[in-house]
């Protein structure tokens, strides 16, 4: 690999020049949301300054420009995840809405009393609660495949839980609390032996590793823009065309219809059937700009650089005697979740903040994971393309200092 252009990339993110108190910002809360490059910020201003109008509506010039930009972004998303068609790219608010869409549309049409939905023990609340609600509404049963103490899915148990009753497998691609990257190819292959639909929660995976939905052969893939250097409030649901076509609408209103009378409504085709109402136009354009930015760097290069960062951070963390890493999967993305013997994660968070370092302290919307590891919360440093080894040194030095202060 050629040298990763870290200095150039850092220049692209204006917020990295911010000071916290009088300390340079060390932003390590990327798994919660990540910062935006100038190119994304500019794309939004440019749209509002020169190209903004509603999409798919008017014959006037601005509406055509805005529609071109909006649909252009859909094409970029399609290429980024290698979908077969732009009809398979549905813009939603984020991963959470994408999963809720599947639960309410695919779920209600295909899942009935006695059927089973299979998830894992490392899911984010947003890949647990929609299924609990669906199960309550339909009488279906939620099954949970266990994890081991390294934070890896116990694959044999997962396979054992697949049955003739299973109608959907919904699994996180990369865990936000542990960093674990699940063996999604094997998961999908196992599900396909019984013709079970598979949804991957890609919220964490998408900024860190190349994703090819056709190579994976997943039925649905959900992700958010804001963890992919794009604005918040925008996300993507990928779905195989045949499945999406058979699904009933999720929300109804303008743009998702072809013909409306008071007696009958004919729905619009894909992807518009699932995009009722005026969408978040500028945020979609911002997502397109983020994809251009990342594609220029290359997702393979990003994955390799971040793996280097994680190795470096893990080695340093292991040298701290009272630090315990939570999540030590063999296949892991750029997340370092940890606890200290005598210091609560919230105190770690406040202490590090006073040094300009932003980490997350809490349950990471994965309370069952915390229960499994018998910790109330963890501190989590999560890395992005603009983080450097020097910043990891600042973090580790801060941790050593605060351990001393707490004695």
């Amino acid at each position: 690999m050629t040298t990763f252009p870290i200095e150039k990339i850092r220049e692209d993110f204006p917020i990295l020049k911010e000071k916290i108190g009088n300390k340079p910002l060390v932003y390590l809360d990327n798994a919660a949301t990540c910062q935006k490059p100038q190119a994304v910020i500019d794309s939004i201003s440019h749209l509002y300054m020169y190209e903004y109008a509603n999409v798919h509506r008017g014959v006037h010039t601005l509406s055509v420009r805005a529609t071109d930009r909006y649909e252009g972004a859909r094409e970029k998303v399609k290429n980024f995840i290698n979908a077969a068609s732009t009809k398979e790219i549905i813009f939603v608010k984020g991963t959470t809405e994408a999963i809720n869409l599947i639960a309410q549309s695919f779920g209600k049409a295909n899942i009935k009393a006695g059927d089973e939905i299979l998830i894992t023990a490392m899911e984010h609340h947003s890949n647990i609660v929609p299924w609990q609600i669906l199960c309550k509404e339909t009488g279906a049963v939620l099954k949970v495949a266990p994890i081991n103490l390294q934070g890896e899915l116990i694959f044999a148990e997962f396979e054992r839980l697949i049955s003739d009753k299973t109608k959907l497998v919904s699994v996180v691609h990369m865990s936000n609390a542990l960093g674990t990257i699940n063996p999604v190819k094997a998961i999908i292959a196992a599900a396909k032996t019984k013709n079970i639909a598979v949804l991957l929660d890609g919220a964490q995976a998408i900024p860190h590793i190349p994703v090819d939905v056709q190579a994976l052969d997943c039925d649905f893939y959900a992700f958010s823009g804001h963890k992919l250097y794009a604005p918040s409030g925008i996300g993507v649901l990928y779905g195989k065309q045949a499945l999406l076509e058979a699904m009933p609408p999720y929300q109804s209103g303008g743009d998702m219809i072809r013909k409306v009378t008071f007696e009958h409504t004919e729905y619009n085709g894909l992807p518009y059937k699932f995009e009722a109402g005026t969408p978040s136009i500028a945020d979609v354009v911002g997502l397109g700009a983020a994809i251009d930015y990342l594609s220029a760097i290359g997702m393979d290069n990003i994955a390799a650089y971040e793996a280097e960062l994680l190795d470096y951070a893990t080695e340093k963390a292991k040298a701290i005697a009272t630090l315990r890493i939570i999540g030590e999967a063999k296949d892991k993305g750029a997340i370092l979740s940890f606890v200290l013997d005598k210091v609560h994660p919230h105190d770690i968070g406040t202490m590090l903040d006073s040094l300009g370092i932003a980490v997350r302290a809490g349950h990471h919307c994965a309370m069952p994971v915390m229960d499994f590891f018998a910790v109330p919360a963890t501190a989590r440093a999560s890395f992005a393309i603009y983080n450097s080894k020097q910043e990891i040194d600042v973090l580790m030095n801060g941790i050593e200092q605060l351990i001393e202060v707490f004695g």
Partner: protein, 150 residues
């Protein structure tokens, strides 16, 4: 190195975090209430003995950050021997202190609790300090068996 945090993490707080006072399960308590902060996972159980309308003993169990541990530890010390009304009044004072309403604070009554005044500068940490007191309030009013900050 952590100079900016001296107002928040005073030595008394470190002391109570390392050696929490009244950290024990109480036999036959008159009140037992669980306090929970779902945002950070802090969880504590408060035990009270009430005699002649006054708190004759207070203890707690649970795990939390230094601020919440020190707060509940200090609280169990200060409320012992107080009547229910006096303890409620103290809760009001503590609440005013941690939310920055200085004009309503009786410094003499607050006493040692003043070490927790620093949380007012840290909105994300105010609930760590007040969890203990909301739990006490519920225990004194004999309302719920468990309370949550959210």
């Amino acid at each position: 190195m952590f100079d900016d945090l001296r107002d928040l993490y005073q030595e008394v707080i470190f002391d109570h975090n390392r050696n929490p006072r009244n950290f024990r399960v109480m036999e036959n308590p008159d009140r037992e209430v669980e306090g929970f902060n779902p945002l950070c996972g802090d969880r504590l159980t408060l035990f009270l003995k009430i005699q002649n309308n006054a708190i004759s003993d207070a203890s707690f169990q649970g795990s939390g950050c230094a601020i919440s541990t020190a707060s509940v530890s200090l609280m169990t010390e200060i409320v012992k021997g107080k009547t229910k009304n006096e303890a409620e009044e103290l809760f009001q004072q503590f609440h005013a202190m941690t939310t920055g309403k200085d004009d309503q604070i009786d410094l003499k009554a607050i006493g040692k609790l003043a070490v927790l005044a620093g949380v007012r500068e840290y909105p994300a940490r105010v609930k760590c300090a007040t969890l203990a007191w909301h739990t006490l309030d519920a225990a004194l009013k004999n309302k719920e068996k468990s309370i949550s900050t959210e």
